[in-house]
């Protein structure tokens, strides 16, 4: 029997199944998609860079034998008591409210055991967190939830949050189902209502005001502790320069892969720039102002491995911060909860409805039964192990490049696999001595 050849069904690249499902969801619910995490789309990242390693022109250091330093001091510009860390990997700000108290405790335990700092988040400082964190950075956020001078003075550093990579220019929304009595009390709001976190600070606007705000915070804390300024990566050169001008000790640059507890998917995926694209302009600003290494640069947003750490440092950062990766180390998106992820309409690795408070892993929830699933001691141990592995990985690479400290890594140790990464990182395309925009070409 003759059969006329048919064309295979062709899926639209523009109207993909994923896009169509979102259109149907929006049509059915009348609300935009809210989720946690950072950008999931493929963007140029550290995977697009490679280290060159030693060769005839450079010789390596012996692994396991020759020392490769990992320590970093943050806040050397003005603070009387800079933060001294054993490793250049810190824990980014995540709130009690977004996370359970046990998860915050685990972050503190893990970070402290690894010799690094952890950071509060929107909603203030909890005693558990302070108690379990050897070095705690206190975030100063637009909402000022839980903000008080006593906690401010207990902090080892203050981080003024101007924005975050997942949503530069946006605020936050902690939905009512996560507002337990304790969370509500800490934020001075009724239990069960959606809690809006403002997108900008209530009592200052612009860099001139920020300079005065930093002065006030220093006067209240006696100029003792470092003051960081955290920005979402958008205009990294100018934001870094303005933060320095305002008096920051440390600039924290958070790229679009950096996570959030909850915001609109359209915001996460379409506002801000990749982490990789933010580093060189920020470093350039510091260099142009003559304060590179005097004002430290912390990079965050999609840091996962020691290779990522090493690459960020090679491009000029002093340290990195991790958030999502730390949660995964604690147990987030663990395959052992697959049946429960399926019941929630998702799967391991894709679960991002952190705002709904039904996290099977017990991390992004205020439900007492779910939260009890996380053992903060064991989870803290896992985080400590993970941080140690990242550090060992970074040291392995640094030694292979012939460096006796992670901070001696430099752009000349790198090459790029793609034109985009070469342009953003300003390192040559592999096998060439050229990158887009290189002067003289």
């Amino acid at each position: 029997m003759d059969k006329t050849p048919g064309t295979l069904p062709i899926q639209s690249a523009t109207f993909s199944n994923s896009i169509n499902s979102e259109i149907r969801r929006a049509a059915a619910t009348g609300i935009y998609d809210i989720r946690g995490g950072g950008a999931k789309r493929r963007v140029p990242h550290f995977d697009d860079l490679l280290f060159l390693g030693a060769s005839v022109s450079r010789y390596p250091l012996e692994g396991y034998r020759e020392r490769c330093g990992t320590s970093v001091v943050l806040g050397t510009r003005f603070a009387k008591k800079p933060i001294e860390l054993d490793i250049p990997v810190t824990i980014a700000g995540m709130s009690f409210g977004a996370l359970s108290g046990r998860a915050k405790e685990a972050l503190g335990r893990g970070a402290s055991a690894a010799g690094t700092s952890t950071t509060t988040g929107d909603g203030g400082m909890t005693p558990e967190e302070r108690g379990h964190s050897t070095k705690l950075v206190y975030q100063y956020l637009p909402s000022r939830y839980g903000m008080n001078p006593d906690d401010l003075r207990k902090a080892d550093a203050i981080e003024i949050v101007v924005g975050q990579g997942a949503k530069p220019g946006g605020g936050g929304m902690l939905l009512g189902q996560k507002i337990s009595d304790r969370v509500a009390e800490m934020r001075t709001l009724p239990t069960g209502i959606d809690q809006r976190s403002a997108c900008r600070h209530p009592d200052w606007t612009g860099p001139d005001d920020l300079e005065i705000k930093i002065l006030e915070l220093r006067e209240i804390t006696g100029w003792q502790v470092p003051i960081y300024v955290k920005v979402g990566a958008t205009r990294p050169y100018y934001d870094t320069a303005l933060a320095v001008k305002a008096g920051a000790d440390v600039v924290v640059m958070d790229g679009m892969q950096g996570g959030t507890a909850a915001t609109q998917d359209v915001f996460i995926e379409h506002v801000g720039i990749p982490t990789l694209a933010s580093i060189r302009p920020a470093v350039q600003a510091l260099q142009d102002l003559g304060v590179h290494r005097e004002v430290q640069l912390v990079i965050s947003g999609g840091i996962r491995t020691g290779a990522d750490v090493a690459k960020a440092l090679a491009l000029g950062a002093d340290a990195v911060a991790i958030g999502t990766a730390a949660l995964v180390a604690l147990g987030d998106n663990d395959p052992k909860w697959e049946a429960e992820y399926q019941a929630l309409g998702t799967t391991t690795g894709a679960y991002d409805d952190w705002h709904e408070g039904r996290d099977p892993a017990g991390i992004t929830t205020q439900d007492p039964e779910l939260a009890a699933r996380l053992d903060p001691v064991e989870a803290g141990r896992r985080l400590r192990n993970y941080l140690k592995v990242m550090t060992l990985e970074a040291q392995t690479i640094a030694r292979a490049c012939g460096h006796n400290h992670l901070h001696n890594l430099e752009p000349e140790d790198l090459c790029a696999l793609t034109m985009e990464a070469a342009a953003m990182a300003k390192v040559p395309l592999a096998g060439t001595d050229w990158y887009p925009g290189k002067p003289g070409f």
Binding site: G30, P149, L152, W204, G222
Partner: protein, 227 residues
């Protein structure tokens, strides 16, 4: 009475000295002279002392105050008594933007007028303004009382939570989810007490009360036009 000259001895010395005062101090009365518009005057205090600033100040005067009574014989810049926890701050003149922003407690009295965003995100502070207040005052105000003896500008109480607003004069417009509410006896009592403590002779009965309609407390797409 202790006297501190800001122009001669500097801001750092002023705040360090005032912050060093403890509960049992004998040096309870301080006069600060020559502030000359300096920022961050008398910030982070935490003792029951009386501080009188003789002249106008810049940003964040009496920021994060606890226990202390700070009086400014002059006007103040933006963010006076921001994030105040307790105590009393009195401004004899006018206040710029964000007066009492995010304050958790205590009493802020402004004898003159207050500019825009007075009481923004207030979290329990009581604010009494003898004159008028500017636009967007009490934006996202969570708790506490804002008393305005004069008029209020546009968008009063926009996105208000549980703070209570009392205005004697006109209100140019109310913000999203802010409505006029019944003045009940307990409100009159609270208001009368605040007016008395703030040195105002206004009558509580002449005020109207505004508060949250609580219709935007949980997001609903049908309310999107309200934002």
């Amino acid at each position: 009475m202790q006297t501190y000259d800001v122009a001669a001895d500097g801001l750092r010395g002023l705040n360090a000295t005032l912050q060093a005062q403890k509960q049992e101090t004998n040096q309870t009365r301080w006069e600060v002279v020559n502030p000359k518009g300096s920022h961050a005057i008398a910030v982070g205090l935490d003792a029951p002392i009386d501080v009188t600033v003789k002249g106008s100040t810049g940003y964040y005067c009496a920021g994060m105050n606890k226990q202390a009574t700070v009086r400014v014989v002059g006007s103040v810049g933006p963010g006076v008594a921001e994030n105040m926890m307790s105590g009393t701050v009195i401004v004899d003149g006018d206040a710029s933007q964000y007066a009492g922003a995010t304050g958790h407690g205590g009493l802020l009295v402004i004898k003159g007028n207050a500019s825009s965003r007075c009481g923004i995100s207030m979290k329990g502070i009581d604010i009494v303004v003898h004159g008028n207040i500017g636009h967007m005052s009490a934006f996202m105000a969570q708790a506490g009382n804002l008393v305005v003896c004069g008029d209020a500008g546009d968008a009063l109480g926009d996105s208000l939570y549980e703070a209570k607003l009392f205005v004697r004069g006109s209100v140019k417009s109310l913000g999203a989810d802010c409505i006029e509410k019944e003045m009940r006896p307990e409100h009159l009592e609270t208001l009368g007490d605040l007016l008395s403590r703030a040195g105002s002779d206004a009558r509580a009965e002449d005020f109207r009360r505004y508060g949250s309609a609580r219709e935007l407390y949980n997001f609903d797409i049908d309310n999107a036009a309200a934002y």
